[in-house]
């Protein structure tokens, strides 16, 4: 132990010991940035965005094609659907259950 504060050299040594005990040993290397992961993420993100855009475009094109009638040789027209699906009153009655109260 060293008397205080008569000897400036000892004071210097004590302060040196104190401050040097605080310094990280060994001195840390530069932090490792995550640029690689970021680059991969950026690539993935771009691919995802492109896929999504392509899907939306395809869906939109299909919707346009359908609304324009699509292929006239194979598509069923709305009139046909209505005509074929028309319900006849008598026909329906045939399938109605018998009223047990009668």
């Amino acid at each position: 132990m060293t008397p205080l504060p008569q000897n400036p050299d000892h004071l210097d040594r004590a302060f040196g010991a104190y401050f040097q005990a605080q310094v990280p040993t060994p001195w840390p290397a530069p932090p490792v940035p995550v640029e690689t992961r970021t680059a991969v993420n950026a690539g993935w993100s771009n691919r995802t965005r492109f896929t999504l855009a392509a899907s939306v475009a395809a869906l939109f094109a299909f919707a346009l094609w359908v609304s324009a009638g699509g292929d006239p040789t194979t598509a069923t027209k709305g009139d046909d659907l209505l005509r074929n699906g028309k319900a006849e009153g008598d026909g329906l009655k045939k399938h109605m259950p018998v009223d047990p109260m009668k």
């Binding site: 205080l4 004071l11 104190y18 401050f19």
Partner: protein, 177 residues
């Protein structure tokens, strides 16, 4: 790829050149070696992001010190919210150097007292003391780092040292390890 390599080389050079100064600044403000280390690493991560984004850093040293100062202040505010006025660890960083238990206890006690008294100095004085005693920088180098005259460094160093010695004596610390 070449750009990333160039950025990394510059980044590592700046870390080698300024990391101690950044740590000293953060340490002088927080008096906590681990917190200073966190501030230093975070500061350099932000520098990396800045370099990577392509934004030119005109004066890297000034940039680093400004970011470190802000981070240290933010950390102090959040630490205050968590811990009140007491620093998290009074004996932070007092690692064993293989001394006897009694000697170690005396040294830890003296170091804790030094640390308490350092809290009473200004951050500027603590920064000079840190640069001088932690890294053994001489006065011209400290003057260059802090942008002050060599005579001013001598004066502030002497004043901080005397003040600290007086306070140690006044607080009953008659011996140091």
């Amino acid at each position: 790829m070449r750009r990333t390599t160039a950025i990394r080389e510059r980044f590592e050079a700046l870390h080698s050149q300024y990391s101690r100064e950044v740590w000293a600044l953060a340490y002088a403000r927080r008096m906590d070696a681990d917190a200073a280390l966190d501030v230093m690493q975070e500061t350099f991560l932000r520098l990396w992001k800045q370099l990577e984004s392509g934004d030119e850093v005109q004066n890297p040293r000034a940039w680093l010190l400004r970011v470190a100062r802000n981070l240290a202040e933010d950390l102090a505010k959040s630490a205050f919210r968590r811990n009140g006025t007491q620093p998290p660890e009074m004996l932070n960083g007092l690692m064993s150097r293989g001394t006897l238990p009694v000697e170690k206890m005396e040294r830890d006690e003296a170091f804790a007292r030094i640390r308490e008294l350092l809290d009473e100095l200004t951050p500027a004085d603590r920064e000079i003391l840190t640069l001088r005693y932690a890294f053994e920088y001489d006065a011209p180098r400290i003057a260059e780092l802090l942008g002050v005259a060599v005579a001013a460094v001598h004066m502030r160093l002497s004043r901080a040292r005397t003040r600290l010695a007086e306070r140690l004596s006044a607080n009953g610390v008659t011996t140091l390890p």
